[in-house]
């Protein structure tokens, strides 16, 4: 248990220090969303209509940004060798790394979403629903991304490969996340229907992600 706590603290520390990925993700998110109204123009009805989709897309891309260094950084400096020698099961180690990554890159997106939603003419109920869907959905993005990060760990410039592997897998989460955020305001389906499916997708990826990533990492070391 102490080893997992030590790993969580260390990964979060690295992420928030200079050169870490925490600030990069949230800044990318803010920049992309800020640019959209300039590109589309002052059509408030349109912005309100596509707002949730834009925020979700930006969150998806932002959560991919720092992901390729998640295992590659530890691989390059030899830390991964030692992590594999620990007494904690590799699946749990990976889940903890995923948690640390989400706390430092996913959670800031969730928190900054309502603020940036103002630029897209979202009103209060929409903001609330959007924040809730992002809160539930971004962990799934991170944990699915773990699989790609583990596959790309030994490759130089694995970032593009990571996106190619991970993005198709995130399509269901994008669909139901945006659907739930829209349903809260426009209807006609109730908010609960797509939101429950989103929750189910997240729970499934929390389980599958660490196991698949552990299998990929073990394969790298065979």
């Amino acid at each position: 248990m102490t080893s997992l706590a030590a790993l969580l603290m260390r990964d979060m520390r690295i992420a928030v220090r200079v050169g870490g990925g925490a600030l990069m993700g949230v800044l990318f998110f803010l920049v992309v969303v800020t640019l959209i109204p300039f590109a589309i123009g002052p059509d408030l009805a349109l912005l309100k209509h596509i707002g949730p989709a834009i925020l979700w897309l930006a969150a998806l891309l932002a959560s991919l940004l720092a992901l390729d260094r998640l295992f590659a950084g530890d691989h390059d400096d030899g830390s991964l060798d030692l992590i594999l020698m620990g007494r904690a099961p590799l699946e749990l180690v990976i889940a903890v790394k995923g948690l640390a990554h989400w706390l430092t890159t996913g959670l800031p997106l969730v928190i900054s979403a309502p603020l940036i939603g103002l630029l897209l003419n979202l009103d209060l109920p929409q903001e609330g629903a959007l924040m809730l869907t992002l809160f539930v959905g971004t962990p799934a993005l991170t944990f699915i991304g773990l699989i790609g990060a583990a596959i790309a760990v030994t490759l130089r410039r694995g970032g593009l490969l990571l996106a190619v592997i991970v993005l198709p897998l995130t399509v269901p989460i994008l669909i139901f996340g945006v659907a739930a955020a829209n349903a809260a305001v426009t209807g006609p389906i109730p908010f609960g229907t797509p939101f429950t499916i989103l929750c189910a997708l997240t729970l499934a990826s929390l389980v599958v992600g660490p196991f698949a990533a552990a299998a990929a990492l073990r394969q790298d070391f065979e």
Partner: protein
């Protein structure tokens, strides 16, 4: 505690690196592995901790904790120092001590032991190569484990630090530990067993029971 390798073979891709290598190390003993570049010294160490696939042969540990694998009872000091430049010296050590389940939270003693006590708050990015290596060595002291696997432990260390490392290794052996070290030169341990990984000629394919350099020392 006794670590035994029997007729081990290593294969990287299509190329056989070594074959038919046997050794036995017991508590309080050290084994130095030597050989030319590419002979498989590092590969043998990585094999012991399961980071490389064992192509043939067996590896057994008698007298250790039966619930733990060899890797879980071993420390590995590789070519890479496994340090994060953005974390301070103390934070790096605290992480590895915690990750390897060290009981005591005392970091100052291991840092003093390797002569980095005064630099505890400095980011590890500012350390020299020798200081980085010494910080890695502090890890072995902060979280005790019986098996030490050292890959070129003296590289980048100055003469005084090499002598100091030899003292630490002797203390470890006296306490019942065992050491496998890959090295070109002497690591300063008298009475260590020698294992030479030398092939007569670089053979592209290692056949059954031949081709590999077979050199082992009786215990």
């Amino acid at each position: 505690m006794r670590l035994t390798g029997i007729e081990l073979a290593c294969r990287r891709g299509e190329r056989g690196v070594f074959a038919d290598v046997s050794f036995a190390v017991a508590s309080g003993e050290a084994l130095t592995i030597s050989g030319r570049n590419g002979a498989g010294k590092s590969s043998l160490l990585r094999m012991v901790i399961g980071l490389l696939h064992i192509a043939a042969g067996r590896l057994t540990l008698e007298g250790g904790d039966p619930d733990l694998s060899i890797a879980e009872q071993a420390h590995y000091l590789g070519h890479q120092d496994a340090l994060k430049g953005s974390l301070s010296v103390a934070e790096n050590l605290r992480f590895w001590a915690g990750f390897f389940g060290a009981q005591s939270a005392d970091l100052q003693t291991p840092l003093e032991t390797v002569g980095l006590g005064a630099l505890a708050g400095l980011p590890a990015a500012y350390l020299s190569a020798g200081q980085r290596r010494r910080l890695s060595i502090a890890r072995l002291i902060a979280a005790p484990r019986p098996i030490w696997l050292l890959d070129e432990p003296t590289s980048t260390l100055d003469a005084a630090a090499q002598e100091h490392l030899a003292d630490l290794m002797r203390t470890h052996l006296t306490g019942g530990g065992l050491i496998l070290a890959a090295s070109h030169g002497s690591i300063g341990l008298d009475g260590a067993q020698q294992l030479r990984l030398d092939q007569p000629s670089p053979s592209p394919v290692v056949g059954e029971g031949r081709g590999g350099g077979r050199d082992e020392k009786s215990v």
